[in-house]
Symmetry: C2
Subunit: 341 residues, 2 copies
């Protein structure tokens, strides 16, 4: 894993916070593995010190060995120019990694070309073929398991999880980030995209992740997905919540968000206090879990407003709150460590 | 659909309540479509007046046109003798229907043979290829939607759903049973096995089912799956609960069951009162739904004990309770119809 040298393919969306999620994630949490970014519109610029190039050829002097699809393409598909770009990468003997719903093997001729050039095609959302239902072995994992849950999708659950893990590692703890989505998998080099798993095996996939996490360390930060009152993704959220058998939750929320985003029905987001209560009551009965902190995403407001929002969240829930990106994850980590005793 | 004539393949398990679930389901709710049952151990007997035969040959005088896998095979696979049996059915030009996890097309040579003989292989758990995420169109369905939810798996949710639908149709209502699992699909001839759907599309599949249900009638009984506090299948339960956008719930429970069955961790089942509250609070915020009745499965106790259990459930929850199999679904249906106004 440490030998990976990414050329991140980020045509069009290298600056977009949502569509460029994977690029931003690997730049922030796996900077050492990124040698170049491809985005013709920004040729010659840099991002976090990484050179931006216009063509695969121009990236070769930086010696990448893997091309990572770093943005969400239009409709999640690979249009003709992307297919040409991916072929070009393979021609130059770069492995390919893709976290979109579509699969690399479905691009006509690409598998054959990859075999010819001796490179690997890795679809990060492809679930392991041998998944099964959960067995209860999640309760035997010898580690403290912390799951980030949230009021909605796309509010920073993965980021909060990574920040907590970073902070814990800085303190010398055997801390492990447990990835459950494509960006997390690209960052950590392992994991399962649980939303791509057959529903029957959802908890089984989460269970397998914490078992593997337990072999890697003893403080596990499981990346949450969806939200238990999200009209579209609640099933994923609850299956992950039960299958990962957390001891503790950190509840994530974006300041100012009142309704579920990307949901045509404008479903209202419940209060933080209600979310705390519902997550605790919906926990596994064999492992009642508590919310021990509120991770607020305050990116859209001023620092003064952020501090106000944090104080208000603490007042409402009686729990420590903080923005782990803006003000670091120290306070939330303290709360987790205190709660594990 | 009315022309289907089933030979139900039930080797070994024709009398088993759990492993013979599909056989029992079609016998109870689609008796008119079953012409013969295959179970060598019980040759010459009958079930509900349907002759039991030992060989496919012996069933031919009853003119079946479809062989239905009516039992759960060992480990859900098709061992050698089953593969031979399925091949024999195809040789005799019977369509095949299978609700197990394994797929008929994965049996070597079977697809070719089916093409040759001009018969169809139908895997009832195979999800439609074009599923997607939920859109919110479930809220626009012009019908009353009732979902059966439960305290556990395998406690009679499908049966309660079928009984409520039968009772409503007897009263002349445009009532529709909406199947979400393999047995229900075999009974009704349509539906989606939601637990076989990729997690991301779970609510989308449930939404599609109620949209199709709304085209078939105006009182929809959606077959519930799993349980929201089931350690293995909670994700399926909640995704179905949100995607099907019910107006009302009927809560199903088996008298005397205290822990989740088939779960190695012996997870305790919450009280009926708590289950009522949690289902209501976990409802879509855009369509708050109420529990309007308790369907008790009292098969394991005497009639006097059943009546006591029903009275106790009413006392505990303040809601009408009944065993819709033992005492018919009239009382529960009345409660649903009163609640829809």
């Amino acid at each position: 894993m440490s030998e990976k040298k990414y050329l991140v393919l980020a045509e069009e969306f290298s600056q977009d916070p949502h569509y460029g999620k994977t690029l931003r994630g690997v730049l922030r949490y796996r900077r050492e593995s990124v040698v170049a970014i491809l985005d013709p519109e920004r040729e010659g610029e840099t991002m976090d010190g990484v050179p931006i190039v216009a063509h695969v050829d121009d990236a070769l002097p930086f010696e990448p060995n893997t091309a990572l699809v770093g943005v969400v393409t239009q409709g999640g598909h690979f249009p003709a120019d992307w297919r040409a770009l991916l072929r070009e990468c393979v021609e130059h003997r770069l492995d390919l990694e893709n976290g979109l719903h579509v699969r690399l093997r479905d691009i006509p001729g690409l598998s054959e070309l990859a075999r010819e050039r001796g490179v690997e095609l890795r679809d990060l959302r492809e679930p392991p073929p041998d998944l099964s239902t959960a067995t209860g072995a999640n309760l035997d994992v010898d580690a403290t398991i912390v799951l980030t849950v949230g009021s909605d999708c796309a509010i920073g659950k993965m980021t909060a999880t990574c920040e907590l893990d970073l902070e814990a590692r800085k303190r010398g703890l055997r801390s492990v980030f447990v990835p459950t989505g494509q960006t997390g998998i690209a960052i950590a080099g392992w994991g399962i995209a649980v939303d791509a798993v057959v529903s029957d095996f959802l908890a089984g996939a989460a269970e397998r992740l914490v078992i593997e996490g337990g072999e890697r360390g003893d403080l596990l930060w499981v990346e949450g997905q969806g939200a238990i009152l999200h009209p579209i993704y609640s099933g994923v959220a609850l299956g992950l919540m039960h299958g990962s058998a957390p001891h503790l939750y950190v509840l994530c929320h974006e300041v100012g968000r009142k309704t579920v985003e990307g949901d045509a029905t404008n479903s209202p987001i419940p209060s933080l206090r209600e979310l705390v209560e519902l997550h605790e009551r919906m926990s596994l009965r064999t492992r009642p879990a508590r919310v021990v902190g509120i991770a607020l995403n305050t990116a859209s407001v001023s620092e003064a407003e952020a501090r106000e929002a944090i104080a208000a969240a603490e007042e409402e829930t009686g729990l420590p709150a903080d923005d782990p990106v803006r003000f670091r994850a120290s306070k939330l980590l303290d709360s987790v460590l205190t709660s594990t005793g």
